[in-house]
Symmetry: C2
Subunit: 336 residues, 2 copies
């Protein structure tokens, strides 16, 4: 671990002076170093990008900061990488904002930044600029992060909800609700424990595997609001109905068990490493096959299709239908 003058963050670590310089050089620059990150400049200079640029941003407030399968740092990298990936872009450069609460343990901050570094390396993105602010004790909750990313749009790729047609198939790349459930179990307030891991991961291998499929209409990673919210958004944007097959939606047994005990619907719980794709009927098996060959796509499944109804429903194994409503109240706050 890095030797800093203090063990915990103080307001002086955010004041633009000596201690801030120490924090940035010994923690942030140590782990996130790359030739484009210049912690002494106001802005970083990037090589020219030949093509259309995609840009996205995301904030992270997950509690607890560390959970089985990840922490807020790796999550902040995956989240922004995934937003670019599902938009059909190759993520290139990220920036990082950290709002650190006075009193945070520096060793924990270091673990989190180290995870960011590993996640960035895995997704082949560089962190090119950053900013840290320290907020007074009691006006944060350890650490909030924001990451912003730019990527190069794949030329062949014209994804949009507007391309979705009647009969198109809905495919999900893996079990839903793992992240939300794992984070919830990591909160001591529930008095429950489990060995479930968050699914938090880069979805780049999944998206790149299917970008060339001609019938691919649209992709999204279901995070806040879960699978149900993505499905509902597609319904709102297209005006078409959606019918999901309940027994085709992959859900881990442990997720179902926890949700039954606590009264949550796993379809509304966040994932952080899954993709929902809408694909023309003729190409659905192709996408499914490509995904099932990947480590994070083994449990991919065709879960439903676009209908001409004006509602979203889930068909139960017995043939009944239940309506899927838009999320109103917060089932599980602070999971991303």
């Amino acid at each position: 671990m890095t030797k800093m003058e203090h063990t915990h963050i103080s307001l002086a670590h955010g004041n633009g002076g000596h201690y801030m310089r120490e924090l940035i050089s010994k923690i942030f620059a140590t782990y996130l170093a790359n030739p484009l990150l210049d912690t002494e400049s106001d802005a970083s200079c990037l090589p020219a990008i030949d093509g259309e640029i995609m840009m996205t941003t995301d904030g992270f407030t997950v509690q607890p900061l560390e959970f089985p399968g990840g922490n807020i740092g790796s999550l902040a990298i995956h989240g922004t990488v995934n937003d670019l990936a599902v938009a059909g872009a190759k993520p290139l450069y990220l920036t990082l904002n950290a709002f650190i609460e006075e009193g945070m343990e520096i060793a924990q901050l270091e673990r989190i930044i180290k995870s960011m570094s590993e996640a960035a390396r895995e997704a082949e993105v560089k962190i090119v600029a950053g900013d840290t602010k320290v907020v007074p004790k009691g006006q944060g909750s350890g650490l909030y992060l924001a990451t912003t990313g730019i990527g190069l749009k794949h030329q062949q790729c014209r994804l949009s909800m507007q391309h979705i047609k009647l009969g198109d198939q809905i495919i999900v790349s893996g079990p839903v609700g793992d992240h939300g459930t794992a984070v919830m179990l990591a909160r001591e307030q529930f008095g429950m424990r489990g060995d479930l891991q968050s699914d938090a991961a880069s979805v780049l291998p999944l998206t790149e595997a299917i970008l060339s499929v001609p019938g691919l209409r649209f992709m999204r990673d279901p995070t806040r609001g879960g699978l149900a919210s993505v499905i509902y958004e597609i319904h709102q944007a297209t005006g078409l109905g959606i019918l999901l097959q309940q027994d085709h939606i992959p859900i881990h047994d442990s997720v179902n068990t926890v949700c039954e005990m606590l009264g949550f619907d796993p379809l509304y719980l966040a994932c952080e490493g899954r993709v929902v794709a809408v694909v023309a009927k003729d190409d659905a098996e192709t996408v499914l096959h490509k995904w099932q060959q990947l480590p994070n796509g083994k449990e991919a499944s065709i879960i439903g299709e676009m209908t001409q109804e004006n509602y979203v429903a889930v068909q139960t194994p017995l043939g009944g239908e239940r309506l899927l409503e838009e999320l109103e109240d917060e089932p599980l706050p602070r999971i991303c």
Copy 2:
């Protein structure tokens, strides 16, 4: 003002569902709308940028959220525009992260986002993507913002502290310490009032006016840590000394008065609309003249020069010298 279903922010405004969609469409999208901002996509698609790209990011935690001369919203636009401007780039596209505290008054949020919109229009930048998170009451302080920007580097421009030479002149574009002092006076805790306004503004007109001056070596906007911290950073990076002339440093009388009463040194207080430029001796008058013709440069002044000493000092009008030390403790937290 916009009609929302609630007057104050609740956790449900951050959950990915109905209320979040209402908040984004009625506040954020209403004021920040432009053809590139697609609040229904994971990432926005930008036109190709022909040339080198500069990228920067900044976080904002100022208290109070609104102060004479600006608010956290306009500050968040100016801050990132200014980081690109002093790096010699034309700012093009910004993203926005908002960490909103449960219980924030929606009317105040609306005023702040409206100010952002005006500041963005003035600097001719577009907000192309955004993200909002709601944190529980008592784990924020109303609103934290982060903005990330990309800009096009001016071809002629190769600014760096490494180009600074012995004898180069230090020029500041206007009075220092206004922002820090105005924010401080806006805090009721000090029991003082004044008509001083923050200097928060885009510095783009100032930087663009002098980019073509051949002897321009380096620019920076003195924010956290004030003029003194910029001067100290230049000293650290170049290994050269700096001698400032105290009576050449423009400081408003009201700033001096407040600082004397409270024991602050105005050289360490934040500005949010000033530029410090380091310029070859032969070109210093040219820069000064160009700045003095601009509305925000009327009080520009040559305040010192690079020396061969190994320290930073301020010469008093009587000829004495006092050392300028690196900031250690926080004189005035939460001013940006």
